[in-house]
Amino acid sequence: MAGTLAEKVWESHVVRHADGEPDLLFIDMHLVHEVTSPQAFDALRTAGRGVRRPDLTLATEDHNVPTLDIDKPIADLVSRTQIETLRRNCAEFGIRLHAMGDEEQGIVHVIGPQLGLTQPGLTIVCGDSHTSTHGAFGALAFGIGTSEVEHVLATQTLTGARPKTMAVNVDGGLPAGVSAKDLILALITQIGTGGGQGYVIEYRGAAIEALSMEGRMTICNMSIEAGARAGMIAPDDTTFEYLSGRPHAPKGAAWDEAVADWRTLRSDDDARFDTEVRLDASALSPFVTWGTNPGQGAPLSDSVPNPDDFADPGDRVSAQKALAYMNLEPGTPLREVTVDTVFVGSCTNGRIEDLRIAADLLRGRRIAPSVRMLVVPGSMRVKAAAEAEGLDQIFLDAGAEWRSAGCSMCLGMNPDQLAPGERSASTSNRNFEGRQGRGGRTHLVSPGVAAATAVTGHLAAPADLEASS
């Protein structure tokens, strides 16, 4: 029977199928971090259970870690306790941990791909909703809660109903200065924050095939912001080239065998998706959010919308509340919105290519005196690579701060936070109320828009810089 990519990966991992029950699915790789795991380990201890497959489990410290003074003990005692708890749990249950100071430490969704652990056709889970990132390699990867973390630790499986499938077909090519981030923000505004609910999205089409692995990860990462638990892209030569030679990638004959297998991982021509969406990449332009959920976005060339223009009463009220929180007036051109802070980083846009895009725009320029800019690499490997290319110096010369790896200001569990009322342009994934700090106001943007905004002091596109220099 013809199948979609998601169905093929699901099918090949079913340990047990019984009518009227959810499938029992084998998990190839379980990634663990400090925030969603302590209660799961505790429950294992209470029940006298062990970790079934420590060899398929990898832990890192990312959400709480400071990005300054990382050689010193964490000042926040509650954060420090959470990190120390993870260290104790990993030692007790025999799980490899990339702790602060380790050269492989970083955001869980950056280190998996970088180590070559994220491979086509695998099932990958983590107690983190942005696990969808790994779908860029043709893996079926999704976020789980702490009860499910415990379930995977104990059994290396999960129970679940087979998800529905959605195809997002992106035709055409992205114009210059328009990135994967603009594409995914535009898609989320089009289908809404619940548009993908219950589906695994497969991104297809010329615009997707033309993307680098970094761009594909940005797209799959934000599938959850469209309500989908997972996003996937069929693996191709771009995927294989990225993986080749990475520490955990197969070598020699095993590599050839793997590639031959990976090439079969695509939706059959006659496979049927439960729903399909189409998007024209060539019609896109830099895209930013104006509201407090990722579906409240608009092209940068637009103005802040008028809530009265929303047909749906729920959307109208939601827009009114969002504009009040964001302190924005309907009709204000988005380019006139000034920001206090620019954040480049996160599992959405904290990879080397993202830093290169931002650095290219900042080379020979200074950020606006009124702006604070934080550049936080997604992993210590990304940090080292950026420093080897001299990107750190470009950021520092421009007046930005160059930090160590972690989730940082994406969710402000470490000291990197917005002050009440402060406004940011952020390459992260969520503009929820208070997400980046209590009372903070977030505009989600691409790395290019982030850099241009830092220079001008207001929301701006990369092209705006070229026009003025």
């Binding site: 029950e21 209660q39 809660g145 309500g227 793997a258």
Partner: protein, 196 residues
């Protein structure tokens, strides 16, 4: 997990869409390593900053059924959102649509989440606003919501419903299939990644 059969409680009408899990419990409360005591973090920002927020109104202080608008529980996978709701005293959340991971977490933890059409949610809001002291029954045995003269039926995934009614431990259920898991493991190609 405690079994869920029938619950009678006061409805708190939360007329908001897109209540993400960052609103249900902000990240600063996620640094704890314990499994209980999250009630202080529930809707922390709204409770602190909005005097007319529903849980700040005395009528709804003892509510145990939350009725919200579309897309409740979107965003972060934090199960702390479910724990905070339960620690505060909620046993049921009703909304037109839920975030996937939140819904999963709730049903695994014993918080009943019920999808109802927007029109029915509106009727429940009106009931709770005009008769805040009149309780609502949510009956998982009969798949019914009952209040005043109204009775509405609802559907929950049959397997999740069975687990809730029996209060079953998910891991113990899976452990019955240990042999199948071992068999599957033995068939996995050697080239697949492992940490060792």
């Amino acid at each position: 997990m405690n079994a869920f059969t029938v619950h009678r409680g006061i409805v708190a009408p939360l007329r908001r869409t897109n209540v993400d899990t960052d609103q249900i419990i902000p990240a600063s409360y996620l640094k704890r390593v314990t499994r209980t005591g999250f009630e202080d973090g529930l809707f922390a920002a709204w409770r602190a900053n909005e005097a007319d927020f529903v849980l700040n109104k005395p009528h709804y202080a003892a509510s145990s059924i939350l009725v919200a608008d579309n897309d409740f529980g979107t965003g972060s996978s934090r199960e702390h959102a479910v724990w905070a709701l339960m620690d505060y005293g909620f046993r049921v959340v009703i909304a037109p649509r839920f975030g996937d991971i939140f819904q999963n977490n709730a049903l695994k933890t014993g918080l009943l989440v019920v999808e109802q059409p927007v029109a029915e949610v509106e009727r429940l809001w009106q009931h709770a606003e005009s008769h805040p002291d009149q309780p609502v029954d949510v009956d998982l045995v009969a798949n019914e919501i009952r209040y005043g003269n109204a009775t509405t039926s609802f559907g929950v995934d049959p397997y999740a419903r069975w687990r809730l009614l029996e209060g079953l431990d998910d891991i113990a259920l899976t452990e019955r299939h240990r042999d199948l898991i071992s068999e599957f493991e033995n068939g996995r190609p050697e080239r697949l990644p492992s940490i060792r």
